[in-house]
Amino acid sequence: MTKEYKTIREIAGPLIFVEKTEPVGYNELVNINLPDGTTKRGQVLDTSHDIVVVQIFEGTGGLNKECGVRFTGETIKLPVSKDLLGRILSGSGEPLDGGPRIVPEDRLEITGAAINPYARLPPKDFIQTGISTIDGMNTLVRGQKLPIFSGSGLPHNEIALQIARQSKVRGSDEQFAVVFAAMGITNEEAQYFMRDFERTGALERAVVFLNLADDPAVERLITPRLALTAAEYLAYEHDMHVLVILTDITNYCEALRQMGAAREEVPGRRGYPGYMYTDLASLYERAGVVKGRKGSVTQFSILSMPGDDITHPIPDLSGYITEGQIVISRELHRKGIYPPVNVLPSLSRLMNSGIGATRTREDHKAVSDQLYAAYAEGKDLRGLVAIVGKDALSDRDKKFLEFADMFEDRFVRQGSDENRDIETTLSIGWELLAELPEAQLTRIDNKYIQKYHPAHKGKQE
């Protein structure tokens, strides 16, 4: 049994300062025994001969200088086994579903070591989500990290669930295991997810970690790490393809900011810690495919942009790390379009390796590029029309203006249970492009126009 210290010198926000200890390891797990017999957990943030700084995950409420502090001599670990599937755990990994404790096959460090870049396999297996704006224009591949950038009141949860339900790699029956980690979302939102998991039977192949809005903020710093550790375990030890949904990254970052402030660090942009990029990278980079291992970790996290501002440090730093982003638009939502994905600022950087003749279809890239260009042009013209009126437009421009409307109505809009395969998505794309003068399709090779353009298609044989 390790020694118990009663030498707390100071308590400040989520931190305690302990003195006169034996040498204590950096990042070590700490147990704090409260006078009422309960225990809280913490982690060493700074250690020296004079003083040890500990952050308390469950918050410092109820702590006083009489509390006993035990340093466990080890870093935080998650007990793992295949029985994690189907379980609902708290944000710090305790069972919430009344089920038994996990009998561990192994106990894994939750910080997770970086994948050696040399051991990575570039992700390239096309995941069909059944959503046209994603499959057609921002294709997701297995092992990618592609977050949803959304805003308050937008239907990101619905979209995330639709993706979790519909996602599959074509030609394989393997289903994704889902690891779901809630960080600071409301109970109601959490229920929304849980109900859907139950309704569709997804819960049996899911691991759920719940840190809700009224749970301690500091705990949010470990919740995603527990989730990713579980995901890596299932992927790399049990050959599963795992889809990780972390929601909401913004709440995680707020907790990070709060910790930084408590430690009186020099803040970076808008008060967020200067190391937030590195910290977020330690989460997002835990997606991927490893050479010689069958499973994979794909991340589809949700991030709500404060003030719908994509340049806010949270979406900004995320965008610099993730392999693209799916941006949800308030404007489209107001128009009643579901899923309100704004394709223009959306991006999947791994799209090019996941599509093409052998993976989706040979014309996929060209169609996508052309849809982008045409929609961008049409949207610009909307701005112009607002000033000069529609009559001032040339015939060509009018076509593009109409294209933008049709694109939103037919390509973007779909039902929340509508699962379009990639062929359907591409043929909707072609039908829309066929409304433009053919000479305007400058992004598409002639051979594809001959083969797929509705005006030529039938005549080919």
């Binding site: 040498p23 390891g25 950096y26 990042n27 070590e28 943030l45 700074d46 250690t47 020296s48 001969h49 870093t75 910080t111 070591a113 970086a114 994948i115 050696n116 870049p117 040399y118 051991a119 990575r120 396999l121 570039p122 992700p123 790399y236 020099v266 200067g274 190391y275 990029y277 590195t278 990278a281 330690s282 980079e285 490893v290 291992r293 340049t311 806010h312 440090p313 900004d316 730093l317 965008g319 610099y320 790390i321 392999e323 693209g324 982003q325 600022p345 791994l350 090019n352 390796s353 260009a373 042009e377 112009l384 000069v388 001032a392 437009l393 040339s394 421009d397 000479a439 400058t442 090779d445």
Partner: protein, 578 residues
């Protein structure tokens, strides 16, 4: 004080040690596992160390040992085709010793001690040699010969010189005073390697990217920065340069960026052939991958590791290009370490020495006469990742004060899939003039004018666009409508270049010239026709115009272009005009 001390305090990657006699930048072994670290501050009997590996579990009181050496890289045969972390540990070796995930406490030599290389001497007994001189060669890859150099600070008379197969740490040459030389030498990364003299860059780095070669060229030995918000094309552009530029050696530093991007390079480069030599690109490449989730202190070091390797090949007389993606992550690593040191922060929390570090780094670029007498160069191309895409932040601003070429990426262009999303109005190259004579001689005496006219037209377009925003394009006079159309052709047919298109990914200088010339020719004819009374509607219907849109994708460009030229002549003959 002594050679052994102990850990006093640990805070993330920063460890304070006491009781150890150190100099700045000494490499120390920290804790029971001997984690590698570097002294970055000394105060009283305490030294501050940045540790290149994960520090979890380290405890105050654990031992620390000073190696007495500065952070150095190993230079010699075997660098090419390697992939290293920020402190030159080969990633394949790390994978062999610790598995798929990077654990700690493993040291690994930068160069293999097992592999034997065929050393061919080029000096004889009795020859006088001095620092930087070539004493022999090794065929490092099929096309690249490594020239074995006398380390810069050594000179003497050759007493013995060997020939045959050797390992990098075996003696191949002995000097009169008993100094033994091996194929491998070490060099402290933070210290530039000496050269005989700096020269003016006068040759362009041909990149095969039209907007770069055409409008904003960088010289061999020059410096360029490519700032842009996330997803605007920094990495794709850097990789295009690494793939296609006519350089002899490429050092590619993935500094605090994505693991999958490095994996991509590792899978692609052995497959892609260098257009000049027909050999796999990997054979001319050294990769340094210290991704965003790898230790931040090693990220700080990665940039120095890379530039030192680049200098080594320059010293042999090679043209080297170095890409650093992203220098902002390097700056952030400095900021993170600095804030742990509780230093006075400068602008946006960056340390006050940010500007100095950036300029010291770019200063290591240049065209030079090496100590051996040959000419070599290092072209440095740094990506910058400004928060929120706002170029007024400290890293972008300090970089722009130093570099000579600015490729400004633009989120708006990227969003509409205009790639490369380099803004032609904000970007610049200060080399354009100096490179003029080279183009006259090697491309065409017309080239500089064609290019300047194109630039002018794009400027003009921007002005006209402002009017269009107010009144719509139909309200413009016809000649101006035509100007807009020609400018659009330059943007879409010439500037746009798809990095993923099998043909268009690389565009030789000659093709660039012919393409721009054809577009300009169409423009001139159209203007003439309009002046001679042709209807703008008819001009706009030109088939040759539409054909020009796709000619860049043709495998047989020349014959496709001559068909179009013919169509163009026929069309305008009908329309009238000269």
């Amino acid at each position: 004080m002594k050679n052994k001390g102990e850990i006093y305090r640990i805070s993330g990657p920063v460890v304070i040690i006491s009781g150890l006699n150190t100099k700045m930048y000494d490499v120390v072994k920290v804790g029971k596992e001997g984690l590698m670290g570097e002294v970055i501050g000394i105060e009283g009997d305490k030294s501050t160390v940045q540790v290149y590996e994960e520090t979890s579990g380290l405890k105050p009181g654990e031992p620390v040992e000073n190696t007495g050496m500065s952070l150095s890289v190993e230079l010699g045969p075997g660098l090419l085709e390697s992939i290293y972390d920020g402190i030159q540990r080969p990633l394949p070796v790390l994978k062999d010793t610790m598995g798929d995930f990077i654990k700690r406490g493993v040291s690994a030599n930068g160069l293999s001690r097992e592999k034997e290389w065929d050393f061919v001497p080029t000096v004889n007994k009795g020859d006088k040699v001095k620092g930087g001189d070539i004493i022999g060669t090794v065929q490092e890859t099929v096309n690249i010969q490594q020239r074995i150099l006398v380390p810069p600070n050594i000179s003497g008379t050759v007493d013995e010189i060997k020939s045959g197969k050797f390992k990098v740490d075996e003696v191949i040459c002995t000097l009169g005073d008993g100094t033994e030389l091996m194929m491998m030498q070490k060099w402290p990364v933070r210290k530039p390697r000496p050269v005989s003299k700096k020269l003016m860059p006068v040759t362009p780095l041909i990149t095969g990217q039209r907007i770069l070669d055409g409008l904003f060229p960088v010289a061999k030995g020059g410096t360029a920065a490519i700032p842009g918000p996330f997803g605007s094309g920094k990495t794709v552009t850097q990789q295009q340069l690494a793939k296609w530029s006519d350089t002899e050696i490429v050092v590619y530093i993935g500094c605090g960026e994505r693991g999958n991007e490095m994996a991509d390079v590792l899978y692609e480069f052995p497959e892609i052939k260098d257009p000049k030599t027909g050999r796999p690109l990997m054979e001319r490449t050294v990769l340094i991958a210290n991704t965003s989730n790898m230790p931040v202190a090693a990220r700080e070091a990665s940039v120095y590791t890379g530039i030192t390797i680049a200098e080594y090949y320059r010293d042999m007389g090679y043209d080297v290009s170095l890409m650093a993606d992203s220098t902002s992550r390097w700056a952030e690593a400095m900021r993170e370490i600095s804030s742990r040191l509780e230093e006075m922060p400068g602008e946006e929390g960056y340390p006050a020495y940010l500007a100095a570090r950036l300029s010291e780094f770019y200063e290591r670029a240049g065209k030079v006469k090496a100590l051996c007498g040959k000419e070599g160069s290092i072209t440095v191309i740094g990506a910058v990742s400004p928060p929120g895409g706002d170029f007024s932040e400290p890293v972008t601003q300090n970089t722009l004060r130093i570099v000579k070429v600015f490729w400004a990426l633009d989120a708006k262009l990227a969003q509409r899939r205009h790639f490369p999303a380099i803004n032609w109005l904000n970007s610049y190259s200060l080399y354009s003039k100096a490179l003029g004579p080279w183009y006259d001689e090697n491309v065409s005496p017309e080239w500089v004018k064609l290019r300047n006219d194109a630039m002018e037209l794009l400027q003009k377009e921007a002005e006209l666009q402002e009017i269009v925003q107010l009144v719509g394009s139909d309200a413009l006079p016809e000649d101006q409508q035509l100007t807009l159309e020609i400018a659009r052709m330059i943007r879409e047919y010439f500037l746009q270049q798809n990095a993923y298109h099998e043909v268009d990914t690389f565009c030789p200088m000659d093709k660039q010239y012919k393409l721009l010339k054809a577009i300009t020719a169409w423009g001139d004819r159209a203007n003439n026709a309009l002046e001679s009374g042709a209807l703008i509607e008819d001009i706009m219907k030109s088939k040759s115009k539409d054909d020009l849109a796709k000619v860049k994708f043709e495998k047989d460009f020349d014959s496709a272009l001559s068909v179009i030229t013919k169509t163009m002549e026929d069309e305008f003959a009908k329309l009238g005009g000269k």
